[in-house]
Every structure is written in structure tokens, then in C-alpha cells.
Amino acid sequence: MLFHSWQFAAFGAVVYLVYLLLCRSRFSLHWLLVASLFFYGWAGPRFVLLLLYAAGLNFAAGQMMARSRRRKLWLAAAIVGTLAPLLYYKYARFTVESLNVALPHLGMTAGLALPSVLLPAGLSFFTFRVLGYTIDCYRGSVEGERSFVRFATFVAFFPTLLAGPIERASHFLRQAGRDRRAPTGADLAEGLSLFIVGLFKKVALADYLSLYVDKVYSAPGSFDGLTLAVATFAFGWRIYFDFSGYTDMARGVARALGFDVVVNFRHPYLATGLGDFWNRWHISLSSWFKDYLYIPLGGNRGGAFNTYRNMMLTMVISGLWHGAAWTFVIWGFLHAVGRFVTRELERTQFYRERVPTLLKQLWVFIFVTFCWIFFRATSFSEALLIVRRICSAGFGDPRFPLAMLAFCLVIWAYQFLSESRFRRVLERTPVRVGAVSYMILHLLLVSGGSAQPFVYLQF
């Protein structure tokens, strides 16, 4: 069930109204849990069991760690038991494919049968959510949750279930505790604002840009270098609007229900370095990797080599988290290299003080956009073809719609403005009311046809 569908509009209205009635009773979380399971089971009920398995296993692990002295054993059991479905559903096919390519080079027979598995929606997201909880329990930063309903609601909370943000247990469970507050009219107004902004990003911008991107990327060999470069530029904005639009809608729905969900994007294309970029892009994932992988690996302790090794491992695994393909590994690798370079540059006084911020932002944007080629291409060879053609295949008329370009530039300018001292201009009532009115009218004018799924639902 997509946020931008009539089904969700009906579902959301029913859930909200019933929740309003129940919010002061002890059954409010029961209701949210039932609604979340229904939401998850909408496309295929069988994966609800997988969700409940992950919730049950980690709930039990949290309980046992509070009682038992064999905390490490319970932690290991929970990690293995939680990661197993993710590894199977997401990486079994990729592993077999890779083995089939690699084994003949080692003089061994290949031809292993490819497993036919369908990746359950949101698996990567709720796996990380429950693992974060269990690791926090092990570290003692979170107490083992005693109510299974509350814990399962945290795991299955429908606004963030399919594509994040990856909520931390401490943040959510505190809000879902006994003293949780009932949603107010202000929550609804703010939630609606977030939802409309997200809907506009998704339907009016991301889906619009995807018309151009998909046309070019479906046959990259038929387009000249400039068109491919423009399509890559468009894809950079498309994926940003798509994913941040989803996040805004998720945060808006949660907000209307009285829950605060973490910010996941903070104008990433204004980043001045790759480290800064990851502080602005998919923040809940990058902070997860930092807290549960990078720091346990040693973080930036132990010298430059260890720091860069840890950074490289984290980024490559982050790439692999996004998709089970070598193109994602290379995407992660490139980002790691970008981080090394910007980290070293930022250590120099010249770069810090003399290079204009705009120039830094521009080069980071160009680098990130270049990396998107590997993210979007269907194979490594296709990505190389695109890179080659961008460098050598001439400059034809890209036929990039003026309206698309105008939207990208306006949003860019808006983001610059909102990070500047002129932000208060954007906060004035006529500007906000005018912007939301425009978004609604624009949506009414361009919407229609079937809803396009979100890019990040495939992860």
C-alpha cells in the first residue's frame, strides 16, 4: 500500500479516527499494531510472519539479556537469527550469481541453480531497527522492553515500516510509553504539511523526472554524452525527491498520530564534503552504520590506516545494504574514496578557508551525481558504458524539459535560502500558505494514472 494511493488515504483516515478514540485507552498501541500488520500484509500476508518472527526473536533476546548472564550468547543468537532471513531473501541470488561467475575462474564447475526468492518489502529496514534495539540492550543503553505489544508496534509502526527512517528503540519506545500523549490538532496540521510536501516531492517531482531518466537509462547506448549526463543529473534529483518525499510522508503520518520520527534528509545537495553529505542523506541509516558498525570496528581510533579501513568497510557494506549487486558495492566504494579525499582536503587550511563554499558544494554534487550512475545502472558494464559515453559520445540536444530544469533549480535555490539567514522569508505565512496551495493545485493538475512505487521500497 503506497502512501500516495487512495487505498492508503482510506486506510489512514480509518486508523487515525479509531486511534483518536482509543488514544487514551490501553488499547491504543494494540490498534496501531493491528493497523501496522494489516498495512504490511496488504500486498502479501505471508511476510507478516517474518515481521513477527523478527520482533519476537529480538524481544525475547532483550528479555533474556536483562535476566541472563550469557548476554553475548543472546546477542549473537539474535543477530544471527535476525540477519538470516535478510541474507537469504536479499543476498542468496546475488551470492549464487557471483559464484557462478567466479567458480570457473578457479577451475571449478559452476551452474548452481539460482534461488527464486521475492524480497519482502521493508525487510532491510525492520531488520536494522530490531538489531539496533538488541545491540542497545546488550550495551545497556536501552532497557529490555517488557511489553511485546509496545515492542512489536515499534518494529512494525506502519509509517516507517517499509522504507524508514530507521527509528531507534530509545526514541520510539519513550514516546510509546505509558505517558504517551494523545495527538492534537497541531499534530494533525503539522503532519498534513509534511505529508503534502512529501507527496509533492514524490508525485510532482520524482515521478516527473523519472519519465526522462527511465527513457534515457533504458537504452543508454542510443543517447549521446550530454543527454546521459543530464539524465544522471536528473536521476540525482529524482532519487532525492523520491526518498525524501517518502520520508516526509512517513514523518507526516507519524506526526498526525502524535509520534515524532527522526529527520532523514537535510538538503544533501548542499553538502560541502562527502562526510557532510552522509550527515544529510539518509541520516538514520548513516547514523545506524556509524553506531553499530563503524565505531565497533574501531572508528577513527588507531591511526589513519585503520580509520580509512573502517570507513571503507562501512561504506561498502552500506552499498551492499542498498542492493545485492556489484554496482552497489562500487557505489559504496566510490563514496568511501570521496570521503577519504574530502577528509584529507578538509584538514588543509587552504581548503577550509580559501575555497568558496559554493565550489565545495558544486564538486560534491558533481561527485555524488557521478556515483549515482553506478546506483542506477542495471549492471557494471552498463555503468561503464554510460561513463564512457558521457566522456566521449558528443553533445546533442538532450531535450530535457525546461519545466524539469526549472523545478530542480527552484528547489536548489529554496534549499540555499532555507540554510541562509534569509530562512525567515520562507517562514512567513504568505510564503508558506502560497507554497502549499501551489503544491496542492499542482498535484491536482498533474496527478492521475497509477501510483509509481518508491525507489527505496526495493531495498
Partner: protein
């Protein structure tokens, strides 16, 4: 990398309070009603003689509304029906409306035929987009083709495509063949109830080559808005299909099963159309056929005759003036239901000469000499060309 604790400041300053939401709602509702008036009026294009809605705009209900408003002002009567009344195989100056106007010596009837407007769709068209013609005299055509089989009668369940699905009932009394998704039902209801949405569809069909605005901008990358000639770029002067006789097309006589009036969804819809029009004060005259019975096997022809008798019986019982013309000569049909130019010429003469039609015209065209000079022309037009398989 950033820790979760610092990630909760919102970068988005666009947040509205409840009061600001109310203001936004007011602005949006106002704009929804103002936006459609931004396009230039359509009045001038309708002044062309023998105007009919272009085939490409058959699903443009905004245009239908505009044309029905305009035709009410310009004409005394209206001809309503599907592509048979529109004139699929003839020029706009060879249709039934034109032929009747020729006989009258002036433009009396407007051609409000729409391609694919079967009775179930006609019911929706009249209910949601036909309010402007209330009180007008209407020749309402029934093409029996729509009852020729369970498929045409929208009886078959499953994936069946049919004409004008947005016009049929969406929730209650839905035809068995219709399976709209929830999103389609909602868009259809919005298009029916809020003029903005039918205007939006009009922009898509008339200005954006049938594409959505976004798809259109992809095809026209250097234009920001579709400001082309719009509906004027479509011409409906020429035939919608090549005017050839049905035999030349290779159509063989078919054993059409026909669906009786007591079971027919289309007939029930037709009854609803008649009732709706009459409830709005329309003076309704029904034209039944003429169906190309030459294209039927003898068994099928017998079943059709029985069906026609049932329909006539209902019309008589309901006191609806009607005319069921005899079949035209075989050479005058382009297919099983559409006449060629000669066919319309003969049909107009027969219709104008029929007592029921003349009586009907007399009820609303008082003070004109029009019906009085029809019979001679009608006789000449009929002059032995019609297949006398059945007397009307």
C-alpha cells in the same frame, strides 16, 4: 557521521497551522473554480455549420458540456446518440442532423452524437454532463447493436474492455463487465462532480495530444505550457472511417444472439435515460435503428424482430413517441449499424415523413412551417430505395 540524537531538527520550514490550512483550503477551492476559465471560450468554434464533436474528443466531457450549452442556444432540437448519430462513415454535412436540417431549410437540430455512447454510457453522460440540455426537444437514438450479445450488453464478467467506461455506473448498478479500481472510481466521481477535473481531462485530450501534462512536457521539452490551438486543431468534418459498404469490408451475416429487454443492462439503461430526460422536461422522441438486418442470419433476424417488438411495446406503454424505420437498402450500410451517406439521406426523409415524428415536431416547433413541407421531399427520398423488409 551523525548520531541519531542530533537528527531531529526539521529542515523544512513549510508547516501550516490549522488556521493556515483553512486559508489554504479556501485558496485551493477558489482556484479550482477559476482555473477552467483561463482557457479561451469555445463559442466561436461551435458556430461552424454542422459542427460535431471531434472523434478524438469523444471522452472529453468538458467539451460535451460546452457543446450542449452552445447547441441549446443555437438550435431548436438535439440529436443524441452514439457514432450512428455522429456519422462515423460520413462527412459532417451528411449526418442525420444535417439531412433533417436540409429538409427543414434551416439549422434546427444539433448533432450531439458521441462515438461509443452506448445506453449505459448515455445514462452517465446525461446524468452528469447533460444538465444544460434540460427542457430541449431531443431525438434519442437507440442503436440495437448494444443489445446484440451479452458482451455488447456489458454482461460478461472479467477483463472486458468497453467504450466510455467512465460514464457507466461506478458503484451501485454497475454493469457486470465493469471492474474499476478504487482509484478509477474516485477519479471518475471527481470528474463528474467537480468541473475542474473534467476541465483537466479536456486539457489533456484537447491540448496535450491525449497525454498527461508531465508526459506532454517530455515530448515538448522547450514549452512550459500547452498553449496550442486546442480543440480547434481537430476537425470532425471528414468521416471517422472510410465510407465503404459492409460487404466490401468482408463482413458476413452473423448469428447475433441478442439479449432480451427483460435481461438487458443496456435496455434498462436506455429506459433510465428516457426517464431522466423526461424528468428534466425534455421532449423526447426515440429513433429505433435502423439496424442492418441484412447482416444477420435468418434466425438472428427473427430474434431481433422479437426484441424490437418488445422495445416498441415498452415505448408505447410509456407513451414515448418513436419511429422504428424499416431497414435501409443493404448498399446503404457501412457495417451492421452505421448507414452511409445515402442511408442518412433516406432515413431523414423517412423519419420526417413519419406521422409520429411530424406529430412530435408539431408539439414544440409551433408556428413554423417546417413539418408541412416535408412529405414531398420525404417521398422523393424514400422513392423505392429502402428495403421494404418492414414497415415502420
Amino acid at each position: 557521521m551523525q548520531s541519531a540524537a542530533t537528527a531531529s531538527t526539521n529542515p523544512n520550514p513549510i508547516r501550516l497551522s490549522a488556521r493556515e490550512w483553512a486559508l489554504t483550503a479556501l485558496i485551493c477551492v477558489g482556484a479550482l473554480y477559476l482555473l477552467p476559465s483561463l482557457l479561451p471560450g469555445a463559442g466561436t468554434r461551435f458556430s461552424r455549420p454542422d459542427y460535431r464533436l471531434p472523434g478524438e474528443l469523444a471522452s472529453d466531457y468538458w467539451m460535451f458540456r460546452e457543446w450542449s450549452q452552445e447547441s441549446r442556444a443555437r438550435y431548436q432540437g438535439l440529436v443524441l446518440g452514439d457514432s450512428v448519430m455522429w456519422g462515423q462513415y460520413v462527412r459532417s454535412d451528411q449526418t442525420l442532423a444535417h439531412e433533417l436540417n436540409e429538409l427543414a431549410g434551416k439549422a434546427v437540430f444539433a448533432n450531439l452524437g458521441v462515438d461509443g455512447l452506448h445506453p449505459a454510457a448515455m445514462e452517465g453522460m446525461m446524468a452528469y454532463h447533460g444538465g444544460a440540455i434540460a427542457g430541449e426537444p431531443v431525438i434519442l437514438h437507440l442503436n440495437p447493436l448494444w443489445m446484440s450479445s451479452p458482451q455488447q450488453d456489458l454482461q460478461l464478467r472479467g477483463e472486458q474492455r468497453f467504450n466510455q467506461p467512465q460514464l457507466v455506473a461506478q458503484v451501485f448498478r454497475r454493469p457486470p463487465a465493469s471492474h474499476p479500481e478504487a482509484s478509477e472510481v474516485i477519479s471518475t466521481v471527481l470528474e463528474r462532480e467537480l468541473p475542474f477535473f473534467s476541465w483537466k481531462e479536456h486539457v489533456k485530450l484537447a491540448y496535450c495530444e491525449g497525454m498527461g501534462l508531465l508526459e506532454w512536457s517530455l515530448e515538448n521539452p522547450y514549452s512550459l505550457l500547452p498553449l496550442g490551438p486546442g480543440p480547434d486543431s481537430f476537425s470532425a468534418d471528414e468521416p471517422g472511417s472510410e465510407p465503404r459498404n459492409w460487404r466490401e469490408r468482408g463482413i458476413e451475416p452473423a448469428n447475433l444472439p441478442w439479449v432480451g429487454t427483460e435481461r438487458s443492462y443496456q435496455w434498462a439503461s436506455f429506459e433510465q435515460v428516457v426517464a431522466l430526460l423526461r424528468s428534466r422536461g425534455n421532449n423526447v422522441f426515440v429513433l429505433l435503428g435502423p439496424f442492418n438486418v441484412h447482416a444477420l442470419t435468418s434466425e438472428s433476424r427473427a430474434r431481433y424482430r422479437a426484441l424490437q417488438a418488445e422495445m416498441e411495446k415498452w415505448l408505447e406503454r410509456e407513451k414515448v413517441p418513436y419511429y422504428a424505420p424499416p431497414a435501409l437498402a443493404s448498399a446503404m450500410y457501412a457495417d451492421v449499424s452505421h448507414p452511409l451517406a445515402d442511408g442518412y439521406h433516406v432515413l431523414a426523409g423517412e423519419l420526417a415523413g413519419s406521422p409520429s415524428f411530424r406529430e412530435w415536431v408539431r408539439t414544440w416547433a409551433k408556428g413554423t412551417d417546417w413539418p408541412a413541407r416535408l412529405p414531398a421531399r420525404a417521398r422523393r427520398a424514400c422513392g423505392g430505395q429502402a428495403d421494404q423488409t418492414r414497415k415502420g
